[in-house]
């Protein structure tokens, strides 16, 4: 049967790990891709929104505990809702403060403003929360294990990792229903395809753009909460790397496409963890970005991206 360190076992384990990492990338990538789709800018402050949601999650969970909610599921549920709302509010405010006043200016201006916003948010957290790594309590410990052959030879997934996959799937289904099957989602897609025409159809496109930022921030908050649960530690700088990776995922999948963002995230996560598990850990990022370059050579619009050609 299998021996310890069998490549097949490692492969199976790394597939699971990659799927989990990919889910997180995908959730954050949604925010990049939706904002790009609708106003054609890269919201470089998006990674910080994800970072802030980790802090909010930990702070509100502590507060809820302080106010005497002793049941863990109830406390988590309250914290989840509050964190989603406040993170959404952050996304909304970032657009109102840093991007909306620049609407109609050159494409470079909001980009610079986004980088500025990213620095502001990072330093705001650094100053108000300190530079230390924050610790999150262990909740819902436990693993599911599948033994192969002998007792020491197994593939495992923690409860929390299983929850990451489950929550990601549910979030994606909810987002898909919202975008493809509701009047609100139709207004979003119309605004994305032709903003002037959407205006002419009586849609308040400013409100739609705000909504896009709120949805993107909420998805990043889901990712932030899940990752906090999983790693149990975070600091003010986690938004940077996660943001870059998620942005890569969005471009890989085809920026502007929501299924593309999710697919790009999963592919990036799988590529990274398979390379780390089977070849070399140090060069996993090189491999991930190399993959991006390779895909872009053959499909410049990404895997599911559509070239901007319209029939006249």
């Amino acid at each position: 049967m299998f021996t310890i360190g069998d490549p097949l076992i490692i492969l199976a384990q790394q597939l699971i790990n990659g799927l989990i990492l990919g889910s997180i990338y995908g959730l954050i990538a949604i925010g990049y891709t939706m904002v790009y789709g609708i106003i054609g800018m890269i919201n470089f402050a998006h990674g910080e929104i994800y970072m802030i949601s980790s802090y909010l999650f930990a702070i509100f969970l502590a507060l809820v505990g302080l106010f005497g909610v002793s049941s863990v599921p109830v406390a988590l549920l309250i914290t989840l809702v509050v964190t989603l709302v406040i993170t959404g509010l952050y996304g909304f405010s970032v657009e109102r403060i840093a991007y909306r006043p620049l609407r109609g200016s050159s494409r470079l201006a909001p980009l610079i403003s986004a980088i500025g916003m990213s620095l502001v948010l990072q330093n705001f957290v650094l100053l108000s929360q300190g530079a230390n790594t924050q610790i999150f309590p262990s909740i819902y410990e436990g693993v599911l294990r599948w033994s192969m052959g002998s007792k020491d030879n197994f593939v495992q997934i923690t409860y929390i990792q299983a929850m990451i996959i489950g929550v990601t799937v549910v979030s994606m289904i909810a987002l898909n229903i919202l975008i493809n099957h509701t009047p609100l989602g139709r207004a979003c897609r119309a605004t994305q395809q032709d903003r002037t025409m959407a205006n002419l159809m009586g849609i308040n496109t400013d409100r739609v753009i705000s909504l896009t930022f709120v949805i993107g921030a909420a998805m990043a908050a889901v990712a932030g909460m899940l990752i906090t649960f999983n790693f149990k530690s975070f600091d003010f700088f986690i938004g940077f790397v996660a943001g870059i990776k998620a942005f890569t995922a969005a471009v890989l999948g085809g920026i502007g496409s929501i299924p593309g963002a999710m697919l790009g995230g999963i592919i990036l996560g799988l590529a990274e963890s398979l390379f780390a598990g089977l070849v070399n850990t140090d060069y996993k990022d090189v491999f991930a970005f190399g993959l991006l370059v390779t895909v872009l050579v053959f499909r410049p619009t990404g895997i599911l991206g559509q070239p901007e050609v319209e029939k006249i």
Binding site: R186, R189, A190, T196, G202, I203, I312
Partner: protein
Amino acid sequence: MAPVLEIKGLHAGYGPIKALRGIDLEVGKGEIMALIGSNGAGKSTLLMTICGIVKPTAGKVFYEGRDVTGIQSYNIMNQGVAQVPEGRRIFPRMTVLENLQMGGAKLSVAEFGRYLSWVQELFPMLSERAQQLGGTLSGGEQQMLAIGRALMSKPRLLLMDEPSLGLAPLISRRIFAIIEEINRRGTTILLVEQNAYAALRLANRACVLSTGEIVVSGDAQEMMDNPEVQEAYLGG
């Protein structure tokens, strides 16, 4: 009674370019008003300014007696104005049905059903191809979809920008027949056309726009007999 649309001394432009230089125009209830003129005369700019997409630099726009100058575009459109814009501008990655739903977003379910069957009766193609993506339709079909989409919003004032542009003669004749039918049902229409002959035949009144100014206006039939108009726009 106040005219459906009243424009007074309207100026608008893009930066230093002045596209409209003092337009005065009135469109009465139930009329078809034709707006003819050569390329770059400012016809499309005028429609976009009425809809609040282009902001006027001077002058006033009144819709059903209310001053709508400079208010947000979606506000104007939600008061019963619809536009069939130049180039059709249907939503290419939405199905035909979704495009129509965009038009009828403010209707109740029952009303939506009623208008949908009316629009599908006018253009049977729109029900046959309900699930097809808008971007895959031919030019003529896209034009029908653009008109259908505008009608779904139950407009009292319909602005149409070159509905016959680039269409085969047979299809453009059908489009003109349908414009007449829409008007017969009580919708006021402001029709921009390069095909001046067809537009004048359809319209009650007309005006000629040239470099941002109205140079001739009056009864459509009289315009057709006007030698100046004949020479410039009806090919002698």
